[in-house]
């Protein structure tokens, strides 16, 4: 996944005559490189997230509160103010920040291990209070940073270093579908799940994130997007096999699409 500086898309002056420039790195991404594993899905999600913030004109009005996981390293790449939170606690930290600076765009960037395993209380109460923040969960169904251990979203049958023969309901319980769980909360305005394992999925995820951020900008309530991301390292497959593994094993458990949307939202 890492792009080298040499591979940076051409500047406009060097676009071949007759060719249209259709893609460039968002100026809100500090560099073209990241330190995550080959085949990781998280950079895809962060890229479209930053594109949204740029397109919304919110670069100087945004604060990201980061959980603890591989994606914490994106603090170095995202050209917005960032606060690092304790493992699982980002929704609480974002609440404090948003309450004292209600006109800022405040989002959390967390993983499934951070938001759903360690910190489910924080996200549930933030949702119930209807905090006007956007919670973003990068769900790869594994603790990637520790090297592939079971999280609360690991799917039945998934092999991890702590479920060696695969997750079983008898011994390890069932995976949690957080957006579905929050459906009945009055304070929740927007819920969606996206994927980044196909180009179409990345494009759709960008729209879901935009809708969530717009929900916050309009003060309509709590918004959450879960993005299913590839973690070939944590799934013990090759980078190339990541999207197929995700399609076959994760997406049946975590269906993509919008679950809840404010009627007034037109984005």
């Amino acid at each position: 996944m890492s792009q080298s500086e040499a591979a940076e898309p051409s500047a406009p002056s060097t676009v071949t005559p007759g060719m249209e420039k259709v893609f460039t790195r968002s100026p809100l991404l500090g560099t073209n490189t990241h330190s995550l594993c080959p085949g990781c899905g998280e950079p895809n999600a962060v890229r479209v997230l930053m594109e949204n913030i740029e397109e919304m004109g919110e670069r100087e009005n945004t604060v990201c509160v980061l959980g603890i996981g591989c994606y914490t390293a994106f603090a170095a790449l995202m050209d917005v103010d960032c606060q690092q939170a304790m493992h699982g606690r980002a929704p609480a930290q974002a609440t404090g920040l948003k309450r004292v600076l209600p006109d800022r765009l405040v989002f959390t960037l967390q993983g499934d291990g951070d938001m759903i395993t360690e910190g489910i209380q924080e996200v549930i109460h933030a949702a119930a209070r209807g905090e006007k923040i956007t919670a973003i969960c990068l769900n790869n169904a594994a603790f990637g940073e520790t090297g592939g251990h079971m999280t609360a979203t690991s799917v039945i049958g998934q092999r991890t270093k702590s479920t060696l023969e695969g997750r079983t309901p008898e011994r390890h319980g069932y995976p949690i579908r957080l957006p579905e769980m929050l459906m009945g909360f009055e304070g929740v305005a927007y819920l969606a799940r996206g994927t980044v394992h196909t180009p179409a999925g990345v494009k759709k995820t960008k729209k879901l994130l935009r809708a969530a951020l717009e929900t916050q900008r309009r003060g309509l309530g709590f918004s959450l997007v879960e993005v299913v991301t590839m973690c070939p390292t944590g799934w013990f497959v090759t980078p190339g096999e990541g999207p197929k593994f995700q399609q076959e094993n994760l997406l049946p458990v975590f269906p993509v699409g919008e679950l809840k949307r404010p009627r007034s939202l037109t984005v």
Binding site: A76, M86, A92, R99
Partner: protein, 391 residues
């Protein structure tokens, strides 16, 4: 070598014409915080910090601030982290067990240099170790202030926010049930030592308006404008993983605490010049010890008095001076003997150190037991007073 300053005693903070009120200690501290500019408060109800929450729930909306009744102390401490990071003076109060829950975040707020104010209205004085050492991790130390009266609670609220921003360091205020519930007349004026200009708030992450983005972190990432270190740094190749020095916040914290100890140590002392024995206690219990020392002097016992106001940094030098004169020290605390360890570190074997305190609670276990009594302390003084040396 530290300069140990005298802390102004109760009531001395009153300035002519300053607004006055008759308030119990918990409410006095809360109002002091509001007067000091606190505009975000959250708490989980638990006696005796509940009173701070109740007061803030009424007062914060009146001053345009925020008060949240949180669902857990762990959420609360992290809300305070976020609000402080937004540049707003923020405070949380909890009690004993709730403080135990917050230890992870408190440790990291020291390492990440988040200048919040945290209050432990404890049950008795059994949290001395928790407050001064903590259950936390990673070479962290708190700045810990222990007010002994409602007026000092007011002064301490001003001072806590001042010290927090001066050193870019969280500050812990340690009171107890008796302080929280004892009503006294207080006046509201910032103590003179809190009027110095404060450094620029380089930690504030409020949307990077007209400046480079900042990262507020305890992980030692060297990034962007680097709100962590306060010094500009470049993004390392590969981002955070490449630019991280996780030991730096710990080393910096240790070094900073040497600086803090050198200039911020505060203590209340009395009658040390002719003392044949010294009684020492902290917090509101110190007032019983001071009165007992006065009664002892009326009986002809030359008893001196020391009350540490800063538990961290601890006034070791004061005890070193006492110890170097061979004067025995009696430590009275409402616990099984915790501050006595710091007293021994200060005395360093040069004089006897007697522990004369004990756990003394009422039926509720909240901390106003029968032994928190000047006549009881006087009796303990009589037991350990060095008769052979008596004048």
């Amino acid at each position: 070598m530290s300069v140990v300053k005298q802390v102004e005693t109760a009531g001395a903070g009153a300035a002519p014409g300053a607004p006055r009120a008759f308030l119990e200690g918990g409410h006095a501290l809360a109002e002091g915080a509001i007067q000091a500019g606190c505009r975000f408060y959250c708490g989980y109800p638990m006696t005796p910090s509940t009173e701070v929450l109740e007061y803030m729930a009424r007062r914060m909306p009146q001053v345009g601030g925020v008060c949240i009744n949180v669902e857990a102390e762990i959420e609360g401490i992290n809300m305070v982290w976020g609000a402080t990071g937004g540049g707003v003076r923020s405070m949380i109060a909890s009690t004993t067990n709730g403080m135990s829950l917050m230890q992870e975040s408190m440790s990291e707020m020291v390492l990440g240099r988040v200048p919040a104010v945290i209050v432990n209205m404890g049950r008795g004085q059994g949290d001395y170790f928790q407050c001064t050492r903590g259950g936390g991790h990673g070479s962290h130390r708190m700045i810990v202030l222990a007010p002994g009266s409602a007026q000092e609670a007011v002064d301490t609220a001003y001072r806590a926010f001042h010290l927090a921003e001066k050193w870019r360091h969280p500050v812990l205020i340690y009171g107890d049930f008796m302080l929280s519930h004892t009503s006294e007349t207080v006046s509201f004026a910032p103590p003179p030592d809190t009027l110095d200009p404060l450094p620029a708030k380089t930690w504030v992450t409020d949307g990077a308006r007209g400046r480079k983005p900042r990262l507020l972190t305890s992980l030692g990432m060297r990034l962007k404008e680097d709100a962590s270190a306060g010094a500009p740094a470049e993004i390392g190749p590969g981002g955070g993983h490449g630019g991280t020095d996780t030991t730096r916040p710990m080393r910096d914290t240790v070094a900073r605490h040497r600086e803090i100890a050198a200039v911020e140590t505060r203590v209340e002392t009395a009658w040390l010049d002719d003392a044949k024995m010294v009684i020492t206690a902290f917090g509101i219990v110190g007032r019983f010890a001071r009165y007992a020392a006065k009664l002892a002097r009326e009986e002809g016992m030359k008893v001196g008095y020391v009350r540490p106001y800063t538990l961290v940094p601890f006034p070791y030098e004061t005890y070193a001076d006492v110890g170097s004169r061979g004067i025995p020290v009696a430590v009275f605390e409402n616990n099984a003997g915790q501050m006595v360890q710091d007293v021994r570190l200060g005395v360093e074997g040069r004089a006897p150190v007697h522990f004369i305190g004990e756990i003394s609670m009422d039926g509720s276990g909240f901390g106003v037991g029968p032994k928190i009594d000047a006549l009881h302390v006087l009796e303990k003084i009589r037991e350990v007073y060095p008769r052979r040396n008596a004048a």
